[in-house]
């Protein structure tokens, strides 16, 4: 159905030297999202690379000895968890003293950055009374938080 509130675009309109509708500048919430995403990504990758070096160089003792790691990665996740004596979910937080589990900090930062990005644009959407997107963003935060929480199941299948 045609929307009367905005003009339709002909081929000529779509490729022209001056925009007819939105401005070329990136919108505020998009810029805010990009900045948070950039910081989270750089921090997460830095932590992951650093912790992996500590792990692989043997500076921090791993929970699963390096020479035994090959016995674990070829079996399914249930057998791995049983053999290693590890629980799923957030149990890794209690094992951060070990080189291998320290890597989970960087991984969690990478996986969690999107939640922070969404939270960062909530005030902008609130101020601009963009209720639809505010609702979508809040629901997305809930979805990602539920996935992250471990409520939907932990520790193998």
């Amino acid at each position: 159905m045609k929307d009367a509130s905005r003009p339709s675009l002909s081929r000529e309109d779509r490729t022209q030297s001056k925009p007819v509708m939105p401005l070329l500048e990136t919108c505020t919430e998009q810029l805010r999202y990009a900045r948070v995403l950039e910081k989270g990504m750089l921090f997460g990758l830095a932590v992951l690379f650093l912790s992996f070096l500590l792990y692989v160089l043997g500076i921090l003792e791993p929970f699963i000895p390096l020479h035994k790691i090959a016995d674990y990665w070829s079996v399914d996740v249930n057998t791995y968890l049983d053999r290693a004596g590890v629980e799923g979910g957030w149990s890794w937080v209690g094992l951060l003293g070990y080189g291998d589990f320290l890597n989970f900090v960087g991984i969690a930062v990478l996986a969690g950055t999107t939640i922070l990005c969404y939270l960062a644009i909530v005030p902008i959407l609130w101020r601009s009374h963009d209720r639809i997107y505010l609702a979508l963003v809040i629901v997305e935060v809930i979805v990602l938080s539920v996935a992250a929480s471990g409520i939907l199941g932990t520790g193998g299948h």
Partner: protein, 334 residues
């Protein structure tokens, strides 16, 4: 006689390639040969029991993983595909890691690539947040469902489904057309309500391009399927995002590719959490993979400035087809 007639054409193609084109083709061919020969050379055909890994030092496989993912990163950029879609079938098919861990790592590889590319694409106004938010909500919700289903299904069923999907992706890559500026005469009601439209500058023509989308409800419906598959197989879903955004919804190709890449940072994050909470993340697989593919992508981008051999895309399709057939055969127990 036919061969003689084709020879001049073949020769002109060969002569046209630059030195850097040959470097790119060499990396792609090495990766393809590695996929074909590695299982035979290491006696790993049909083995998922870790027999080869036990006989090799522990560092062999992480090092091999780094080298292979580096090559994968180069080839992905040159072939115009996401690293995630190459990772799961190739690593799952030719390394001794269980598919549970490969899928977990695959999601994190695709996620890291999307996180790295996202800020630049958003700032350049190529990835569009207003286009991404609604479809990301659908895809990420269903990626959770896909991940839970994928982890509940027997491995051989997932392997067969994965292999079939990969072969389908090859057909899609082979046949799908792209439209640089799709014709969208009128925005639909939903996209107008959500104010999904924008403007970007096209440096090649010097023009400013206004864009809008249509068929938004149908596009959103397809993101249910895209999310399910992303979670189920641990694949980055760029191969599916771009056709839906570009061909169905009518977003310009540049906007579709950029928004698709950015979308993965949301879709794959939700599924990655499920895999992580289930215990399907082994840092010794994840960290070398992320490092390898990111460094490979950087090298690929540099190589792309001086070389763009069309042959790489064909090698990627052949490699994916081979990996898909291998996944199906593994799932069937051959």
């Amino acid at each position: 006689m036919t061969i003689l007639r084709l020879y001049p054409r073949f020769r002109s193609i060969v002569v046209r390639q630059s030195r850097w084109d040959w470097v790119a083709i060499g990396i792609a061919v090495a990766l393809l040969l590695g996929c074909v020969l590695a299982p035979v050379a290491l006696g790993a055909v049909g083995s998922q029991q870790g027999t080869t890994s036990v006989s090799l030092p522990w560092w062999f496989w992480p090092l091999a993983l780094f080298v292979v993912t580096f090559a994968m990163g180069v080839v992905a950029v040159l072939g115009g595909v996401g690293g995630g879609v190459l990772f799961v079938p190739i690593i799952g098919g030719f390394f001794p890691f269980h598919l549970d861990f490969v899928r977990g790592a695959g999601l994190l590889v695709a996620l890291s690539g999307a996180l790295a590319a996202g800020p630049g694409l958003l700032k350049a106004n190529l990835a569009n947040l207003r286009l991404a938010i609604p479809v990301a909500l659908i895809a990420s919700s269903f990626a959770i469902v896909g991940a839970m289903v994928g982890l509940a299904l027997p491995t051989n069923i997932v392997e067969i489904a994965l292999g079939t999907t990969i072969i389908g992706i090859c057909i899609l890559m082979f046949t799908a057309k792209k439209s640089v500026h799709p014709d969208v005469p009128h925005a639909d009601r939903l996209s107008s309500t959500l104010r999904i439209y924008g403007v970007y500058h096209e440096p090649s023509s010097g023009h400013t391009v206004n864009w809008q989308v249509h068929r938004t409800p149908a596009g959103m419906a397809l993101f249910v399927l895209i999310g399910l598959m992303a979670g189920l197989f641990g694949l980055g879903a760029g191969w599916a995002n771009v056709p839906v955004l570009n061909l169905l919804m009518g977003a310009p190709l540049k906007i579709s590719v950029a928004t698709s890449k950015f979308l993965l940072s949301i879709t794959d994050a939700s599924a990655a959490w499920i895999y992580m909470n289930q215990g399907c993340v082994i840092p010794m697989i994840v960290a070398p993979s992320i490092m390898g593919i990111m460094l490979g992508s950087l090298a690929g981008v540099r190589l792309l400035r001086v070389a763009k051999p069309q042959a790489v895309r064909w090698i990627v399709i052949v490699m994916l087809a081979f990996a898909g057939i291998r996944a199906v055969s593994k799932g069937l127990g051959y």
